[in-house]
Symmetry: D2
Subunit: 151 residues, 4 copies
């Protein structure tokens, strides 16, 4: 079995250009290291991270809420339509060894909570504040440093 680290990147389905760039940079660093990017497969942060990862030659797994594969963004290499709606959030968490939250709304908050409940590390970058257990950082580089310590 592939012993690569699976990094879940969770965040808003729509985001500012600045957040997009941050997520894309993070995705690039993930792909460069041969880690596998896990995400919800849609737009915004999910798309940006997948784009960066693929640009670095990396692998991306998109776990989709709907039952149609073609709802995945163009940078998803393996698209898994689940038909579970927000139920797929739990699968994003279970598929990931570590999660990075970038911005995000209630869906992201549910993933943060499920990850912390499962005892998985959650790194936060400009996301939900004051959640005990999140390891807050300020840059993609710091995210990578943190992940390398778990690895």
């Amino acid at each position: 079995m592939d012993s690569a680290t699976y990094v879940g990147v969770i965040g808003a389905g729509e985001c500012t250009d600045l957040t997009y760039k941050t997520a894309q940079n993070l995705g690039f660093e993930i792909g460069k290291r041969g880690w596998i990017l896990v995400c919800g497969g849609l737009g915004g942060v999910m798309e940006a991270a997948a784009k960066g990862c693929v640009e670095a030659g990396g692998m991306t797994l998109g776990i989709l809420p709907g039952s149609k594969r073609n709802s995945a963004n163009p940078y998803i290499r393996i698209a898994l339509p689940t038909g579970l709606g927000e139920g797929r959030n739990l699968l994003v968490v279970r598929a990931s060894d570590v999660l990075v939250a970038i911005s995000g709304g209630y869906g992201t908050l549910s993933e943060i909570a499920l990850a912390l409940k499962a005892g998985k590390p959650v790194i936060g970058l400009e996301t939900w504040e004051h959640i005990q257990g999140i390891q807050y950082v300020s840059t993609p580089d710091e995210v990578i440093e943190k992940i390398m310590k778990f690895d």
Copy 2:
């Protein structure tokens, strides 16, 4: 079909006597009105609310994380073992018309987030603070008042 209101009560599986009493009082008010109590079926806040509801002659539905029915607390009338682990949290949300969060840890936070994501009202009583969207109150009576407005 039964047109009763389904009230989800979510909260910690272990709690103080004071919190237990609060949840039990709330459960009693729910049962008294013929509303159906939905919860995760285990101990702490879930047990207290179910106890209060049954004492008022009400109906309780416990949606369990495990696959054994006998993990339900003694006040659950209908026990549904799901075998989905924390995946059952989404079902608690989907089964409820309105949710009340009392204290609680990460599991409760995931339910709050999933409920708000689904656009369902979430009433908070001594629970996760500073979550935008939660309607914070201070007593079981205020919870009931709020629910009666949605009803």
Copy 3:
């Protein structure tokens, strides 16, 4: 906790008058004994069994594929919208101590298979033939006799 037997009745969402009558009779016998009827909450066999059960004063749990409670048939006392589509079939199985298959298509076949996989008794009445493991009978009375032996 309620130690009642939970009987899952699975079958086609549309059926002939004869099959409807059979399922209704079975539901009546289930309700009469204080057993809890579990089903998929929709029409045909599910509705007929729930109708019979309610007519005998019994309790009915409908585990719905969609996310709207009002898709339940009028004889469902506790309606659980799951939003999981056919994923709810597994929950019908997990909620039941014993299952009875009456007629049915592919959805029913999936429930039969999941129940047998879980080691639960499956009683078949005019349903999928030649499935090893199903205990085939010819009348609702024989179903009840079989369940009483497990009980």
Copy 4:
């Protein structure tokens, strides 16, 4: 998005050498064509098909019942622990454009039924007999021919 065909191979977790060889040959043909192999990630037919696919340089997605990634067989490139038990069977079906059943017990039967219910093609090779809707064939080559017609 990757427009590859996703082929689900479903079958027993333990199998004879002959069945293993058949599944491995099929996996090789799948991998050779750049199709993505989806399976339940465990042993027997799942392992054999994944082994063949990887030997042809192909991609394999294993959707696991448990919550530990290391339960995957050694030929799974992307391992998704779901923690859903047999609930993962539905995800194998939803992730696949077409399914091939080789031998198999009740778990496989549940996947066949869920796939047919979803209107997806199911090709059968020495598997459950007399299930209306399965397209029965006798060799891996015939499986490939059938898939190429859908493709």
